[in-house]
């Protein structure tokens, strides 16, 4: 039996520490709300002067003349993200399948810790590597090959490096959702004379589908919001996106304009609006990823 005071003290400690942690968790959630409100408030000047549709649909961007059309940057962002996903989705899924279903244990362990490391590399490093590899690749090989003259600082290059940056998250999350499947599922399929690939395609893809879809959506969010690496190779020109031409994305617009931000109040508001837009889209994709995973799992009774 424990002495009374000691037991009381332990309980009080327990109560205080659980309250404290609760408060911290609450504080973090409040932080999220505060950020949202702040962005909303600071976007007001722009939105009181221009209508939302005008801002979203107009393609003229010239802050000095009071023109704030985001269509080129919004399209540019979707464009690079789309290119990135086009490459990253199939490559990541196949990579995850190889790792989870084919690779011998030693390779699997090595590769999955390697993927973890890759995910932690600062994006500016990816940017530098893109400057060293992808820019010349696009300028000297891909461009001439399709018969287009380009500096290599363009939408395509940004899409390529984004694909590389999506790999770690997309591979590791889809790998995890494959690994979470019980071995019995594979054995059942193999025992009926299915090959590994048939097993993967007909059973595992479906069973791990919700997790994989969620991995893809999170990868999308990652690509959509990526700033530094894109800003370094996209060319930084605010015009309608085209594969081999310099372009601009929402995040790269903010970094490239942040120096001037102080001078024009309306431009400042416009950039805050861009941040708000990013905030909302990325949040929606993250929530969507979770929701889709839950819904599909419930629907398929996995």
């Amino acid at each position: 039996m424990m002495p009374r005071d000691a037991a009381g003290l332990r309980m009080r400690k327990e109560a205080v520490s659980s309250r404290g942690m609760q408060a911290l968790a609450l504080g973090i959630s409040v932080l999220f709300l505060v950020m949202l409100l702040l962005l909303l408030a600071k976007s007001r000047p722009l939105l009181s002067g221009y209508s939302l549709t005008e801002v979203l649909l107009s393609s003229h961007w010239d802050p000095a003349r009071g023109q704030f059309g985001f269509a080129p940057v919004i399209l540019g962002t979707f464009y690079v993200t789309f290119i990135a996903m086009l490459i990253a989705v199939p490559v990541s899924l196949l990579c995850a399948v190889y790792l989870s279903e084919y690779a011998p244990g030693r390779v699997r362990r090595m590769f999955s810790s390697f993927i973890g490391v890759l995910a932690g590399i600062p994006s500016v490093v990816f940017g530098i590597c893109a400057l060293l590899v992808f820019v010349p690749l696009v300028a000297d090989y891909i461009g001439p090959w399709v018969g287009v003259e380009t500096t290599g600082l363009c939408i395509l290059t940004a899409g390529l490096i984004l694909a590389v940056m999506v790999f770690p998250i997309a591979i590791s999350l889809s790998y995890e959702s494959l690994q979470a499947l019980p071995i019995e599922l594979r054995e059942a399929s193999l025992s009926m004379g299915a090959t590994r690939w048939e097993t993967t395609r007909k059973v595992l893809f479906k069973a791990a589908g919700p997790g994989m879809l969620s991995a893809i959506l999170l990868g999308f969010g990652r690509a959509f919001g990526e700033t530094m690496a894109v800003a370094m190779v996209v060319g930084g020109k605010n015009q309608m996106p085209s594969l081999f031409a310099a372009g601009q994305t929402l995040p790269s617009l903010i970094v490239s304009s942040v120096g001037e931000m102080m001078s024009l109040p309306l431009e400042q508001s416009a950039l805050v609006f861009v941040a708000l837009f990013l905030f909302v889209v990325v949040t929606v994709f993250n929530l969507l990823a979770r929701w889709v995973e839950k819904r599909l799992q419930a629907r398929w009774k996995i």
Binding site: P182, E187, A188, S191, M192, G193, E198, K206, W300, K301
Partner: protein
Amino acid sequence: MKDILIRTENLNLWYGDKQALIDITMEVPGNMITALIGPSGCGKSTLLRCFNRMNDIIDDCRIEGSVFFGERNIYEQGIDPVEIRKNVGMVFQKPNPFPKSVYDNVAYGPRVQGIEAKKNLDRIVEQSLHDAALWDEVSDRLQESAMGLSGGQQQRLCIARALAIQPEVILMDEPCSSLDPIATAKIEDLMGELKKNYTVIIVTHNMQQAARVSDYTGFMYLGKLIEFGETKQIFESPQEQLTENYITGRFG
């Protein structure tokens, strides 16, 4: 006399450095039920999985010796385990239906083996579900997810799924261990039916079950096949002290 369908010769198996099967030589008669019994970890599942080369999927597993199906050694060089498995159905300890409809579960094997015509699949699915004594319970919910069936129904679905590939041999690894007595009785009855058309090898921890359903019994201990013979003989007059200790429950 009995016809021998499967014969193992000096079968040795290692997981890494650890030997799990030691020099197993045995003869499994066709159209009979053969039970493998023995204490936990003695290698029953491992031996069972040698009959359809399921151990091939384990990374560091090494096998020496032969397993003959008739005249053919399935461990011979150049034999494709995928082909072997098409002839051997397997039912696992835990019911493991695919997250698909009842129909698609049963049609899975035939589809993998190239049967596509809806009419043929319908026939096979119905027949297999009948044979697994499940048809009456699921005939009106073939398109519903198999995950919604009860545990006993799921296990019979897994049996139906194994039957649908029209195998010669069915391997069952403790198929009743997660089922209640009623579901167990159903599956035991089923085995009696199955042996008319199939050769069944079953691993079980339940001695009464082995005595009830099987024609032949093998007793394993620490990776060795200690004794093999007609079930009646094994249970009534075992030749080995170890066997006797085990079946009388005097085990140290």
